[in-house]
Amino acid sequence: MISRSVASWLLGALVLIAFAVLAAPGTSYSNQDRDLPLAASSMRHPAGTDALGRDRMVRVSAALLLSLAGATLAAAATTLAAAAVGALSAFSPALLGGLIILVCDVFLALPWLFLLLMVRSALPLTTSPAHSAVVTFLVLAALGWPACARAVYRGAVHLRDAEWMLQARAAGLRGHQIAHHIMPNLYPLLLPQFLISIPAFVIAEANLGALGLGIGEPLPSWGGMLFELDNSAMLVSTGWVYLPIALLIVVLLLIESIAAEVY
């Protein structure tokens, strides 16, 4: 695989290109060119248009930024929640700690995709696209923390039993003073968990969207664009319909490369 720095540069370049495409004057992901539905590549639309005449390049750029931003925020929320829960369960009395871990196990036993389907389908029928995007990533964050919390719990237990911790307690350090030393020591554990969560959430959003239960139209999303692959007429007319899936795979491989080296 490619090195972490090369992967970071390539990912950064892709994000910058996406910003540049969206920042061009007169572009919007919902703009329709009604005279040119399913258009092939041209100067005006370098990657062609979709069935509604919307520029595919602009939509893919917006989907890239939306998906990465949403997945990163969800991964950050997951990691923070996992850090809090894991540390709390390790440093609280045994009964409370055991109960917290039992709750983690309950969440781990739930099949997440079915749960996502259940929660997503139980949203009001009038949910706006922006709300659907927020809810999708919120639900992903809400379901992603238990596995990470278990890993943090094991790390925190290791810290709790460490000799320097015993020394700190014997020296009379208070709870908040000890907590001050816990988080920096958990950082090497939290960073890989955060990085691993990002591609997992991007894929989950794409799968949900492809089932029609992800981010609502007209907001662009990977899943929504994978829908286009169902239209065989479109596949015959242009090869650009494969652009979203190709870009998605590249982005995921780049994130995986960054995560693999940290892990």
């Binding site: 309950v106 036993a109 079915f114 749960l115 259940m118 029928l125 596995a147 794409a206 089932l211």
Partner: protein, 285 residues
């Protein structure tokens, strides 16, 4: 005696988890903002009186206690609730599809395991060309299930079993390769290799017995992975299994069906192995 107590404790914990999963799923769905939205209320074919009756029925069952009681009594009767869309007991919808899904899972998991075990054995035994094995696995894991299924369908080659097998094999390979690499480096294995014991005998007599607990742990994880790929695969290939039923229920807001399917899946995962222990064993690698 101690083993029996440990087994009982484990069984008690599993049962407690099943109860908590059922309780948690019901509470989650009850407090979802669209719980009271029923697509039948917008169906013009229903008379206004019928629609009013639907609203009244929803209001009657609005409290959490009532929802839980309804759910428990439906499970006690063995009907698993009443489908809002088809107006038949959920069990009638689930029963014929269980066999289809079960067979699909069994074939995919078996083939996935065979493929990943063979490739991991070859990959871990030699230090050269590891990229040859890791690159396809990474590529397969980067493709969303729905996209892979659609591409297979368009290409006219491969079916649901192939898609699930490839994804499972890629995921399991990552773990198996790491487990096996560690096993090959064990001092007694190194000693046996130095003494010239044939590789096949080494694998059968020393490697596999050493990694057996981790393989059991991985089996549980495989089931969880397979369940997460079930919905897109069954929907795209039109396999009339549990995943397709769940998707139909989600699209038509048939929450009783969705709740029953989620709970069946959760119970299956819980009984397949204590996930927490499994994950712990694998993360220790």
């Amino acid at each position: 005696m101690r083993a029996a107590i440990r087994l009982l404790k484990r069984l008690f914990r599993t049962l407690a988890m099943v109860m908590l999963v059922m309780l948690g799923s019901t509470i989650l769905i009850r407090f979802a903002p669209g719980y009271f939205s029923d697509s039948r209320e917008m169906d013009a074919r229903y008379a206004s009186a019928a629609r009013a009756e639907l609203s009244a029925e929803a209001a009657r069952n609005s409290s959490l206690n009532q929802t839980l009681l309804n759910e428990i009594s439906a499970w006690k009767r063995g009907s698993l609730g009443l489908s809002r869309e088809y107006e038949v007991p959920v069990v009638e919808l689930v029963e014929p599809r269980l066999a289809v899904t079960g067979l699909l899972l069994l074939r995919a998991i078996t083939l996935g395991w065979m493929l990943s075990l063979c490739t991991a054995l070859v990959s871990s035994a030699g230090h050269h060309l590891s990229l040859l094995w890791h690159a396809p696995a990474a590529l397969l894991l980067a493709v969303p299930t729905a996209a892979m299924a659609t591409i297979c369908l368009l290409a006219g080659s491969g079916g649901p079993v192939l898609v699930m097998t490839l994804l499972l094999a890629a995921r399991d390979f990552k773990f198996l390769d790491r487990i096996l690499r560690k096993a090959w480096r064990d001092p007694h294995v190194l000693q046996a290799r130095a003494q010239g014991i044939p590789t096949l005998r080494l694998v059968v007599a020393h490697i596999f017995p050493n990694i057996l607990p981790q393989l059991f742990a991985l089996a549980t994880l495989s089931l969880v992975t397979a369940l997460s790929t079930l919905v897109p695969v069954e929907v795209i290939f039109s396999v009339s299994g549990i995943g397709q039923l769940a998707w139909n229920a989600a699209m038509n807001r048939d929450l009783p069906v969705l709740l029953a399917v989620t709970m069946i899946m959760a119970v299956a995962v819980t009984f397949a192995g204590m996930t927490s222990n499994s994950t712990a064993k694998l993360q220790a690698v």
